[in-house]
Subunit: 402 residues, 2 copies
């Protein structure tokens, strides 16, 4: 699609707003019941559903449950099967670490080793974040000649390591053996003939050796494994593929990071949805496109808290009049995936999606909800087609062929 | 899909009619209102919608607005992203010039040059067709040794040049600099090592030199630019990929030309829809497949004339009993794209589509219109899948795999 949009995009003065309620889609608690979104009182979303066109967004392919990375890349119009971000790079992105071109990142897990150096607990007893954060500072003492090493804490037993040096490759095998009773694997290049991968593996080996000494006295976390070695992913920018000056108004580092990967600028320092809309209003004239991310529809779903998710959806609904008042040419409301409280996890179900524009060809949907949406005028579509639809509705795509 | 249909097609006595109302899909003038098709009184289409199965045809991909070329190739079952026809070849096709295997066509624009040879108007003041037609006859005097040169008028400032000689290539850059105040570019091969492209560029250079002399005294159009150098596109024929003897009953050269490119035979000399149906009746026993093209649903949409488009749809509806009386095994009614009067241009919106056969598994649609169609039994589908559906419904596709 980017080959097409890159050729066909046009510039004009229109504004596009992509409003993402993370994990928006849900399930009823009882068969035949209402989902979280159908239960919530959402007068503004329902009014938009009457004016706009609805559909069900399939994040990747039918039946495939995405993580946040592929979920957002799809919404941003990047084929999530083509652009796969390594776990290390995604984890670094998630904590707001901006990878440079000479960096290779990997995800670390603290583990517990027995007296023979065999893994006895792959997650170090799910050590708390409070206990693990100082360990990252300890590991930051590792010194390797010619290499800058960054160690950053994530949640619980997780951390991120970034190696920065010229000539590094990321084709390096994980060191996690995926079972207990055996020692961690040695870092090895996927292809021994690949000198860049071999260099990274050598550095990782040295890092592990020093780290083991630094962790030796720890009661829970005296070992570590490394996974998902990955360099900075190369994604063409929004400016390049869509001709859009794009801004991201997000609170959490993961979504800021994903937006940065496609060349959006991070604007504002909002900590609440209301502050995010303040930023939108303040920066309205500076950009063509705004990505606004709302986290709590996902986290309440992950918690399995149906009523809390309903309440968060109502909070989300309440800010819509402020966005509509700005009169964007195209307003899209969607999610990066479903997170049904019933499942307490992301899921594969199509995400209710709404597009409003003056030429959207509205359908007969009278409310915004899962069952209405999948019968709407957008039908069921892969998320990656949403951005071409946004551009078309904004008059920003020329004709293909004569 | 052609790899599949080529293997699976079967012959039988069934007849398939593909009735294309160009630019059929539309938009309401007011949000929540009716489209042109929904406004029109179409008792025969509505009766067919009750008997048949409806759907929304996506011409290329969601959000992509096609020109007539990709729009029709999609309906004919040829992936419009795979088979891209160059502008010169399409323009030649559009005026009924049948390109041979040694031809390279390009689209010419008359322009106005100032005393220094710089372009002052890229379209020669949009010179009228009456004024520009004699210029093509003037340019037909160009004589280049070893090359047959054809110059054919198109509308207003446009014309087509075809060079016919052995060993020509079409990888030649446009000479239109896309701005004024600079002279036209020199014809250059895209790749200097490509001798076929270099030969065409050399011939084009000589053509331009002679043409400039012939146009020297012209008040408006004393210069020219050349764009979209392209050879005859190679598309497998309907006989080859579908096993169909196919006839095209069209009035306008563009659609005749596109049909010829896929191996349809042009039958009759109809000038009106009613005459087209006469031809259909007369030639019913001679072919398996009939493509009938109706232009005016598009041209009225392009004019922004909602009521005229409604009237044209009603005219179109009125001939359906004559087609139905022939009892085709499969009757399809669709468009190559939408042309909403509101937008006065082609658009990306799904095109209402109807398929009637004895085994089509009809849906609950009670009328033929945009909102009904996209909820119909065909769902929303890419246009390129319509021909396999037509063949299947005609009993002309065998089983895939054992």
């Amino acid at each position: 699609m980017h080959d097409l949009t890159r050729e066909l995009w046009l510039k004009n003065d229109s504004k596009i707003v992509l409003l993402v309620a993370d994990g928006l889609g849900g399930l009823p608690l009882e068969p035949g019941g209402l989902t979280e979104l159908e239960t919530a009182r959402t007068p503004h979303l329902d009014a938009l559903a009457k004016r706009g066109v609805s559909g069900g967004s399939i994040p990747v392919k039918p039946g495939i449950t995405p993580g946040s990375g592929p979920g957002h890349l799809g919404l941003f119009g990047y084929d999530p099967l083509k652009y796969q971000i390594g776990r290390g790079a995604l984890e670094a992105t998630g904590i707001g670490f901006e990878l440079g071109q000479h960096d290779v990142a990997c995800r670390g897990n603290y583990c517990a080793l027995d007296g023979e150096g065999r893994i006895s607990d792959r997650r170090a007893g799910r050590i708390s974040s409070e206990e693990s954060a100082p360990l990252a500072r300890l590991l930051a003492q590792v010194a390797i000649a010619g290499v800058e090493v960054f160690v950053e804490p994530v949640k619980e037993h997780r951390f991120v390591v970034v190696f920065r040096a010229a000539g590094l490759g990321d084709h390096v095998h994980d060191t996690d053996p995926q079972k207990t009773g055996v020692p961690p694997l040695d870092p090895r290049p996927a292809d021994p003939a690949d000198t860049a991968g071999a260099k990274t593996a050598e550095i990782a080996r040295e890092f592990v050796a020093q780290a083991r000494k630094l962790l030796a006295g720890q009661p829970k976390a005296n070992g570590l494994t490394l996974r998902g070695f990955s360099a900075r992913p190369h994604l063409p920018s929004y400016e390049e593929v869509y001709g859009l000056r794009a801004a991201a108004i997000a609170v959490y580092p993961m979504y800021k990071g994903l937006a940065r990967l496609v060349g959006m600028e991070l604007v504002g320092k909002a900590r609440t949805l209301s502050e995010q809309i303040d930023v939108l209003e303040q920066r309205w004239n500076d950009y063509d496109f705004f990505f606004i991310h709302f986290k709590y529809t996902d986290s309440t779903g992950e918690d399995g808290n149906f009523q809390a998710k309903v309440a968060r959806i109502e909070e989300f609904d309440a800010v819509l009049p402020r966005i509509a008042a700005l009169e964007p040419a195209v307003l899209i409301v969607t999610g990066d995936h479903s997170t049904p409280s019933l499942l307490k996890s992301h899921s594969w179900h199509p995400v209710p999606t709404l597009l409003v524009s003056a030429c959207c060809r509205s359908d007969e949907c009278q409310a915004f909800g899962e069952r209405d949406a999948v019968r709407g005028g957008l039908g069921q579509f892969e998320a990656k087609y949403l951005m071409p639809l946004a551009l078309a509705n904004a008059g920003r795509l020329g004709k293909f062929g004569a």
